[in-house]
């Protein structure tokens, strides 16, 4: 049973088509990784799935419910099952680390202040930044901000988690640690993951299945082994990072 389903989705920005007739089924519990050259619409695809971008054509289903037809109340109940880590983390800069995690709990649950604080501290521990409890996002490093973003995304125990480039701008060791953290939390919670990355090593580490966004389409390349040996020359070039091939590098 698919937890996310995209049927013939097309997204245009003004007169420019970003995504064209995208078809995708993501089963519950899967770790699906989106790769592809910069500026091809990976984040847009993720935002379509998350309901932040409404496609001009096609249907988007999350938990068998079509985003666009949901009432405000239904939408809220679906959103409680969805967590997201944004590319730039989107942390609330006027709140401390513990308040950033407490905020969604305070807004959407009936928990007491004590329970909220305990839960927020548990997630700070889980992502390995308990010492940053009372610091503001600007006062912590990029890696710690990522961890805090992950903690906030997980705060409501979501069934689906979207990660938009969780290792962007991080050194290889921190990147690896972040992916291990994501996978550890996935194993503990049994959630479905949809992640974007441009780092193929991290994609192979994380993915059950990989899809590549290129030329307005989504090419499902299969599991990491199938992706490495995929016949499409664009996939071949991207996976190996070759300069020669059908893809042209964006400056």
């Amino acid at each position: 049973m698919s937890i996310i389903s995209l049927q013939d989705v097309t997204v245009n920005f003004e007169d420019h088509t970003v995504l064209k007739s995208i078809q995708l089924e993501i089963p519950a519990g899967e770790s699906f990784v989106i790769v592809g050259p910069s500026g091809q619409g990976k984040t847009t695809l993720l935002k379509v799935m998350a309901g932040l971008v409404t496609p001009q054509n096609g249907k988007v289903f999350v938990e068998q419910k079509e985003w666009i037809t949901l009432s405000r109340k239904e939408r809220l109940s679906v959103l409680k099952k969805v967590g997201i880590l944004f590319q730039k983390n989107a942390l609330f800069d006027s709140l401390t680390c513990v308040q950033n995690i407490s905020f969604p709990l305070r807004e959407t649950t009936e928990l007491s202040d004590w329970e909220i604080t305990k839960k927020a501290e548990y997630f700070l521990d889980a992502v390995g930044i308990p010492h940053a409890r009372d610091l503001y996002p600007d006062e912590i490093s990029g890696g710690m901000q990522k961890r805090l973003g992950i903690a906030r995304a997980l705060a409501l125990d979501p069934e689906i988690i979207f990660y938009d480039d969780p290792t962007a701008g991080l050194d290889p060791i921190t990147s690896r640690k972040i992916i291990e953290l994501i996978l550890k939390l996935k194993r503990e919670k049994g959630s479905t993951i949809v992640a974007i990355t441009n780092d193929m090593n991290r994609a192979f580490q994380m993915a059950d299945r990989i899809g590549m966004v290129v030329d307005q389409e989504l090419v499902i390349t299969g599991n990491p082994e199938q992706t490495k040996n995929h016949a499409d020359p664009r996939v071949h070039q991207f996976v190996r990072g070759l300069l020669q091939g059908p893809l042209t590098a964006t400056p």
Binding site: K47, L52, L76, L79, K80, I84, Q87, F92, D93
Partner: protein, 239 residues
């Protein structure tokens, strides 16, 4: 903009009601703007008295009506509009840059993904705080204006406070204060709506935030002056 106004007005009656955010914003609008507003309106009142006296002496060789005339001008126009224009540059610019920064750093999207309506969370408390804050600041600004006008009348024109108040009583009605409060509330309401509108539409980068801030100050100042005309015209039928 119309959609934002409609959503904000609907949000006033839709839970959750965000008391904490409202009081934070009221503190920002009221307390933190008060000194600047009072300082500026006092100088505006002094200029009004001096200019009125100069012109009345030139035309009718008598400035006995200056206190009453100035008090009327202060209550009907000066207190409310100077306060509102100062608020639009201080509070409006602050709101636009705050919401604009949230927009470009995806914090607005993060709110949506947490199931929080950005209009309910950001606009409604600011709107309410500015309406109430605008009204209160107008009252305080008018009082400060009147006192400074009274002081300068005594110092430069020789009218004692009791002469000033007697003259003021002849010209000024309680209705003037009510109308000034209505103006303050309306001007206050315009500022967060314009600021949040440009903040939500903010494009990428620092330049986008700068543009949103500039547009907010320009558009809200124009809107305040146009609304002032509409309200003054409407009130003229109620005297």
């Amino acid at each position: 903009m119309i959609a934002l106004i409609a959503e904000t007005l609907t949000g006033l009656f839709t839970p959750p009601f965000r008391r904490k955010e409202f009081f934070q914003q009221l503190y920002f609008v009221g307390n933190k703007s008060l000194v600047i507003v009072v300082f500026c309106v006092c100088f505006a009142a002094v200029v009004t008295i001096l200019e009125s006296s100069f012109h009345m002496k030139m035309v009718i060789q008598n400035d006995s009506m200056v206190p009453g005339f100035a008090a009327l001008l202060i209550l009907r126009e000066l207190g409310a509009i100077v306060s509102a224009l100062l608020l639009s540059s201080r509070v409006g610019a602050g709101y636009a840059s705050e919401v604009g920064s949230m927009q470009i750093t995806e914090q607005i999207d993060a709110l949506k993904m947490l199931g929080i309506d950005p209009v309910n969370y950001l606009v409604v408390p600011r709107f309410l705080a500015c309406v109430l804050g605008g009204m209160m600041i107008t009252i305080v600004a008018n009082m400060a204006c009147i006192f400074s006008a009274m002081a300068v009348s005594q110092l430069y024109l020789g009218y004692t406070p009791s002469m000033f108040l007697t003259s003021m009583q002849r010209f000024v009605d309680f209705k003037d204060l009510i109308f000034a409060m209505i103006k303050g509330a309306c001007f206050g309401g315009v500022i967060p709506l314009v600021a949040c509108y440009f903040g939500f539409r903010c494009q990428q980068g620092a330049e986008g935030v700068g543009r949103a801030t500039t547009n907010t100050v320009v558009v809200s100042s124009i809107a305040i002056i146009v609304i002032d005309f509409i309200l003054s015209y409407t009130f003229s039928y109620l005297y």
